[in-house]
């Protein structure tokens, strides 16, 4: 799952939204690290301006462009790990998705970024699950967690194409093959169809499969 560049997003936005985005990105760029003076979640003060833009991106740019605008804001602010964590924890589902999509661009240390991915994978919100299994997860999730993430995609109907580096991570994974086989058997025993994606991933686990 890739998000468009500033130039591409520019072409898709109307005049008002484009002007809003430019102003918001300028404010984000003026806040290096994205750090704020006050990181306490229940602080009485309003959040800093660019974080408010992060919240309002959907109504300013249209929901279909919200992911892209929010990821650009995070990148422009060079949001650090505490900022990413706060924005994720205090975010709507849409804002959390944007933080997840920004992880491979901002590359927080695994100790900071992986807990956010794991949180998203505990939800049953397919928009979050799909955003969680991107390149950052492919790079940093341990084998057990990654296998369960993939199984969760199959369970909740998230296309496994959302999973980055699928072929590479699945290649030669005998444990994943066993889990997929057991799941297929369970579905078959229940008289329910086996998801087509399951067979695709199962084929990828083969040691002879080119990936």
């Amino acid at each position: 799952m890739t998000t468009p560049t500033r130039e591409v997003l520019h072409d898709r936005l109307g005049d008002a939204a484009r002007a809003w985005l430019d102003a918001a990105l300028a404010e984000a760029g003026a806040a290096p690290g994205g750090a704020t003076d006050d990181d306490t979640p229940t602080a009485p003060s309003s959040p800093p301006a660019w974080e408010q833009h992060f919240a309002s991106a959907g109504r300013q740019c249209g929901q279909e462009h919200a992911d892209a605008a929010r990821v650009l804001l995070l990148r422009e602010a060079r949001a650090d790990a505490p900022t990413l964590t706060r924005l994720y924890r205090q975010g709507t589902a849409a804002e959390r998705r944007a933080v997840l999509l920004a992880l491979p661009h901002l590359e927080p240390a695994p100790a900071d970024g992986v807990p956010l991915v794991e949180d998203a994978l505990r939800t049953n919100d397919t928009r979050l699950v799909a955003a969680a299994v991107g390149p950052y997860a492919a790079e940093h999730l341990d084998p057990h967690t990654w296998r369960h993430a993939l199984l969760k995609c199959l369970f909740t109907g998230v296309p496994v194409d959302a999973a980055a580096r699928l072929g590479q991570r699945a290649h030669g994974d005998a444990e994943l093959a066993r889990m997929l086989g057991d799941y297929a058997a369970e579905r078959t025993a229940a008289g329910r169809p086996v998801p087509a994606d399951l067979h695709r991933v199962l084929a990828l686990t083969s040691r002879t499969e080119e990936s």
Partner: protein
């Protein structure tokens, strides 16, 4: 027939309700934050609840082709518990969210000084954030409570055009209308209003600024009361356009003042949004 339920607590309802609501014509709704039946004892319980209104519940609604928005506030009942008061300080970070279309529901429960303070503070928050306010009228001592509510609204920075007075009935509608606020009616199986009384109110007072909701929650209530009222209106001689005004255009106009309504909910069958709610362990 398209229906916008401007007040319904879907957190307390099942997916069967969503399915039945869609079949009845409901395409959009607003879920006000409210008392959950069991008193909360810390602000964090509220924050998790608000997060749910901004995360999981709109996701559930989208599975059934219904656009979900919410209002957030410290409700009057729990405003009386000092342990919950810090919620007021944290509200600004929720009020900037895309799906929040009003401050609410606020108002009076027992008409205490603590409720006075919370109501005035939250009307100010609405004015500060350019948001409307959903103000319910109390269940007990309703007429007096409504008069006091209107006084507080008049003293606030918020234009009455941005206030929806809810749970109105025959005894309160006249003064509520005179205040310049929008007028909400909750149609219930036994209490509050019923659909035939609602039709009588509409005949007497017209359809302008009138909103009808089910206010369905964890108590005895019915999420299809919006549709039942629409049917009763048609049976009583109101036109399709009258019904559309009360059940769609009026709530869209009121909550639209937030600038945040997104009424293009994903239709069932869309790639991401159309999956049934699976439990990941079925």
């Amino acid at each position: 027939m398209r229906i916008f339920d401007p007040h319904i607590h879907m957190t307390s309802r099942t997916t069967d309700d969503y399915e039945a609501m869609y079949a009845a014509g409901v395409r959009a709704l607003v879920e006000p934050s409210f008392w959950l039946g069991q008193p909360r004892t810390s602000p964090e319980s509220f924050f998790d609840y608000f997060d749910s209104l901004l995360g999981w519940e709109p996701f559930r609604a989208a599975q059934y082709g219904i656009a979900h928005h919410c209002t957030v506030a410290l409700n009057p009942k729990e405003a009386n518990d000092p342990r919950c008061l810090p919620v007021l300080d944290a509200l600004p970070r929720f009020l900037v969210k895309d799906n929040v279309v009003a401050v609410g529901e606020i108002g009076y429960d027992s008409m205490t000084p603590a409720e006075d303070t919370a109501l005035a503070a939250q009307l100010q928050l609405a004015a500060d954030h350019g948001l409307p306010a959903l103000v319910h009228t109390p269940h007990r001592d309703k007429l007096t409570g409504m008069r006091r509510t209107i006084d507080v609204v008049r003293e606030s920075a918020l234009d009455p055009e941005l206030v929806l007075l809810d749970h109105l009935n025959e005894t309160t509608v006249k003064e509520a209308a005179d205040s310049g606020c929008w007028l909400g009616f909750s149609i219930y199986p036994d209490t509050k209003m019923d659909e035939d009384r609602m039709v009588a109110v509409l005949k007497a007072h017209g359809t302008e600024k009138m909103l009808v909701n089910s206010a369905a929650d964890w108590g005895k209530s019915d999420p299809l009361k919006t549709r039942r009222t629409a049917d009763a209106m048609l049976a009583a001689g109101f036109t399709d356009d009258d019904v559309d005004q009360v059940l769609w255009r009026n709530p869209v106009a009121f909550y639209g003042r937030s600038g945040r309504l997104q009424l293009d909910a994903a239709a069932p069958g869309d790639l991401h949004e159309g999956n049934s709610i699976l439990r990941g362990g079925e």
